[in-house]
């Protein structure tokens, strides 16, 4: 590894915070050994951010955990040096005993860690304040009173309003963004020299993500910490990182300054990754379908209230998930619905299919709209049998490619099930049809006899699409269909859907929180906020010239995968 010695020739040796040399981690699994991390070397430098980028399964989280020695069986570190530099002599973390006192002194105190899912890494049975106090007393040997004061101070630093009161609240009383702030406060409690942030904002909405990343960057700058940011989001990398290391299959395939990685990638894989991300930053340049005929599917003033009534029928409480939404989908059109979590977009999609019954309003379907026939059918009033016919024409593609396929059925059974239920095919005709569908979504015929666990996320999503296509639908409702996928796969699936649309004359309702995906895929976009549609327009207009305040703040919070043109820094905040 002659090149690892000069990874940071431009940094003076005394700026180093942590170095990793030739780290390898193996997983001893039931059927094989997985080399999750192989010969990984990098440096963390004070005041700088190294982004560890890679797709799922590339070994980035395992690397971070190995630094803190918190990897559990069946994983084990097989080789490598981890050296922590500080005011005293350099410490060899890899030589310390598992769970020894030295390692525990480093965890939290000198290396702070922020997890992806704050809910599962904070204790639900103790107040936020108590958890921070504990860590302060443990690592900084403070008295209870000092620790309490410091806790309030920390919560104030992470911009939690009324920190005195909030310290006495429990995790479940905090929103996702607040929890992540508390988590950051906890990680920073002992003033660590190195901060590891493992997908810190993946579970958060873009606007919250922008705020959290702002906060982390500011605190890092104030304290001069070295930071390792683990993420799959190249946009975030471009906004945040000074240096980038690209991981794939356990190896670092390329590392260097952010600008060089983005604008002059040296390896084929990095180039592909960046291309896939950049491609999603463009529209698809498709002439929009004509919108003069009758729309294929319309929602008219659809609302959904969730609530609980007392046994006498009085309403105890209620929330309005969807509030009087109207929209139209024309034949051949891709309509995007974007919004943050809790905006009601998924409920709206479910109401279109009547998986959730609308409280008020109507869904109108015009089966012959493609031929100019405006005969209306009221989906909300359909009896069971008619609804089956409607659900054959309007299909759903699910978000989670793992949960949406029955693990006990072969691919043939999964894809063929709608055909069997509808009585459309059986025996060898069924087999041929399934093979044809698999071919359509780019899977080989011999996938038929396999079970879903044999496939990757992207392949599973293809199986899900094949199932949706089995009954020759007119409309496909895709609910976050690509959000569980890696960026390169995401682009492939979107291309597949666009290709299928051309061949099969489909219309899509595409529900997503990811603005770039919507821009790539959709003709028109409806922006939802708190159950209402605040703005509708063509995809280009929404992205480049948003009119509503909320849309503006949403668009400006989306990280831009170009380090020369950072967007988040100059974002617009929306106060509602």
């Amino acid at each position: 590894m002659q090149q690892t010695a000069n990874i940071h020739e431009h940094t003076a040796a005394d700026d180093l915070a942590l170095t990793v040399r030739n780290l390898s981690v193996d997983y001893h699994l039931r059927s094989h050994i997985l080399h999750a991390v192989r010969d990984v070397s990098f440096d963390l430098v004070k005041g700088r951010t190294l982004a560890l980028v890679g797709e799922s399964g590339s070994g980035k989280s395992v690397t971070a955990r190995a630094l803190l020695r918190i990897i559990d069986a069946p994983a084990q570190v097989t080789s490598g040096e981890i050296t922590l530099f500080g005011p005293d002599a350099p410490l060899r973390v890899d030589e310390m005993g598992e769970n020894s006192r030295e390692v525990r002194a480093i965890r939290g105190k000198r290396i702070g860690l922020i997890f992806q899912e704050p809910m599962s890494s904070l204790s639900p049975v103790r107040t936020i304040g108590a958890q921070i106090v504990e860590s302060l007393r443990l690592h900084r040997k403070m008295t209870v009173a000092e620790a309490k004061a410091e806790t309030v101070n920390l919560l104030r630093q992470v911009e939690i309003a009324q920190p005195e009161q909030m310290a006495d609240r429990y995790t479940f009383e905090f929103s996702g963004g607040m929890r992540q702030r508390a988590m950051i406060a906890m990680a920073l409690a002992c003033d660590p020299e190195v901060l590891i942030a493992d997908e810190p904002t993946t579970a958060l909405d873009v606007t919250t993500q922008a705020e959290i990343m702002d906060l982390i960057a500011r605190l890092q700058h104030q304290r001069g910490m070295a930071m390792m940011l683990i993420t799959h989001d190249l946009g975030l990398v471009a906004e945040m990182a000074d240096d980038v290391a690209v991981m794939r299959f356990g190896r670092i395939v390329e590392q260097g300054p952010t600008d060089a990685i983005f604008h002059d990638p040296q390896t084929a894989y990095t180039r592909r990754l960046i291309d896939a991300t950049m491609r999603l930053e463009t529209g698809h340049n498709r002439p929009p379908p004509p919108m003069d005929g009758p729309p294929l599917l319309s929602a008219k003033e659809v609302s959904k209230y969730f609530g609980e009534a007392t046994w006498r029928g009085k309403k105890k409480w209620g929330i309005t998930a969807v509030d009087g939404v109207s929209l139209d989908l024309w034949p051949g059109e891709n309509l995007g619905i974007v919004g943050e979590s809790g905006s009601g977009k998924t409920t709206l999609g479910k109401m279109l299919l009547r998986i959730v019954e609308p409280s008020t309003g109507k869904v109108i379907w015009r089966p012959g709209a493609g031929n100019g026939d405006a005969a209306e059918r009221d989906v909300t009033a359909m009896p069971k049998e008619a609804l089956k016919g409607y659900r054959r024409a309007v299909r759903l593609v699910f978000q989670d490619p793992f949960a949406s396929l029955n693990p006990r059925m072969t691919v043939k059974q999964v894809v063929g099930d709608p055909l069997i239920v509808a009585g459309l095919a059986s025996g060898s005709a069924l087999e041929d049809r399934v093979a044809e569908l698999l071919d359509m979504v780019g899977l080989p015929r011999d996938a038929m006899e396999r079970y879903p666990h044999a496939f990757s996320g992207g392949q599973r999503q293809r199986i899900g699409i094949a199932r949706a296509l089995a009954l020759d639908p007119e409309i496909i409702i895709a609910d976050e269909a690509t959000s569980a996928l890696d960026v390169s796969i995401r682009a492939q699936i979107l291309d597949l859907l666009l290709d299928l649309q051309k061949r099969l004359n489909l219309s899509f309702v595409f529900i997503a929180h990811d603005i770039s995906v919507v821009r790539y895929f959709c003709d028109r976009v409806a922006v939802m906020h708190r159950g209402k549609i605040v703005e509708t327009g063509t995809a280009e207009q929404i992205i480049t010239d948003p009119q509503h305040d909320y849309t503006q703040s949403l668009i400006s919070a989306v990280p831009n995968p170009d380090p020369r043109n950072k967007r988040m820094a100059s974002r617009i905040r929306f106060a509602s």
Binding site: S31, I33, A403, S404
Partner: protein
């Protein structure tokens, strides 16, 4: 300048780095494995569970061929040998010249009478040799109540000689034969009981979990009421209600039903919980959207995902049944003589004097209960862990 790892010079990698645990293993094998194959592989990796499974099978084998395996019929009293101690099997005899000769045998009994209490007691007499053989003719019996047979696996060659490997009871009945016959009853009462509680539990649990609402509410309240019943008094009452004129077999079935009527609640809760969880799964929603009827959703999509869990719960429920039968019979409200079960056998060991003079009456039936219950529990644990091959 960016740094390029030297690996990129090599051919482009297409998948994660994997090496087999042992040379020659094919990591691709599990790709085409069905869920059942995964469960099986996982189960067989758990050695304790496999051993427990083998023991359970052995018990059932013994129960199935009880007539043939038992040295004699369990009701045959030997008034000459009451409370006779266990004899041990030996292989060689020495004749007068001191030559050792192979002869499977047990030692006979010597009787002594206590001059004060006139109680007879038996000790092993090392000089009396009772030759023993395999497949000897013994008491005639009906195999499975159908075939007239005389041959037994093991017995004294002379039919009139005593052979009591585990000793005898107060009437001089052979304990080994009784334990073997008891195995049939005790192990099968579990099966029948669990089968009926399985049906009630699964159906009510499924209804409760699938429909929710008031169906769920009433089933759950019913479960709570049944769980709140003090079981022993209830059993006492029900057992007292069984007409005295009924045949022991009829009583046996009724007792089984009574036990299972109270034991389905745990299974119903388990099934309900699983149904609740699975009902919200995307693949179930997908099946509904595919046009599947409710029945098809339940039987084609939800229940198959449950079978392995149900199997595990059932395996854990059988030992509860065995223990319940033993306890009831011990208290004299379950099975009664002449039916032989482990619980009935333990009735003989109810007073301390018997335990002091004939401890084997307590030890062997107890051991049978403990070993079978433990085996079932280990087996059930193994099955439960294997039931979800994607966990961990």
């Amino acid at each position: 300048m960016t740094l390029v790892s030297h690996y990129d010079d090599l051919a482009e990698e297409t998948g994660p780095a994997i090496s087999p645990l042992k040379p020659g293993d094919d990591p691709d094998k599990i790709a085409v494995a069905s869920q059942w194959q995964l469960i099986r592989a996982r189960f067989f990796a758990n050695k304790v569970a496999v051993v427990a499974g083998i023991i359970v099978l052995l018990f059932y084998f013994v129960g199935l061929f009880a007539e043939f395996l038992a040295p004699t019929i369990p009701s045959k009293a030997q008034p000459r040998f009451t409370y006779a101690p266990p004899q041990s099997l030996a292989f060689f005899v020495e004749d007068a010249e001191g030559n050792r000769r192979f002869q499977l045998h047990v030692k006979g009994y010597a009787m002594s009478v206590d001059p004060e209490s006139l109680r007879r007691s038996f000790t092993i007499d090392p000089d009396k040799i009772v030759p023993v053989g395999f497949f000897v003719k013994g008491e005639p019996y009906k195999m499975w109540g159908v075939f007239e047979m005389e041959r037994r696996l093991l017995g004294a060659i002379n039919k009139r000689d005593p052979m009591n490997l585990l000793g005898t009871d107060s009437l001089g009945r052979d304990l080994l034969s009784r334990v073997i016959y008891g195995t049939r009853v005790s192990m099968s009462i579990g099966l029948i009981g669990v089968a009926s509680s399985l049906i009630i539990g699964t159906v009510l649990g499924a209804l409760s979990g699938f429909y929710g609402g008031w169906v769920d509410l009433s089933v759950q309240r019913l479960i709570e009421i049944i769980s709140a019943m003090p079981t022993i008094p209830l059993w006492l009452g029900l057992a007292a209600a069984i007409p005295i004129t009924w045949s022991p077999l009829k009583v046996y079935f009724v007792i089984t039903l009574i036990v299972s009527l109270l034991a389905w609640t745990g299974l119903a809760r388990e099934v309900r919980g699983r149904f609740f969880a699975l009902k919200g799964e995307d693949f179930v929603t997908a099946a509904t959207l595919d046009g599947s009827s409710q029945r098809r959703v339940i039987f084609r999509h939800i229940l198959p995902s449950l079978t392995s869990h149900i199997l595990a719960v059932v395996t854990l429920a059988i030992p509860t049944m065995i223990v319940a039968e033993t306890a009831l019979s011990f208290l004299g409200i379950g099975l009664k003589a002449p039916v032989v079960s482990w619980g009935v056998l333990l009735q003989d060991a109810q007073n301390i004097r018997t335990v002091a003079t004939a401890p084997w009456l307590l030890i062997w039936p107890c051991l049978a209960v403990v070993v079978s219950v433990l085996s079932f529990n280990f087996l059930g644990d193994g099955l439960r862990d294997a039931a979800d091959p994607y966990g961990h």
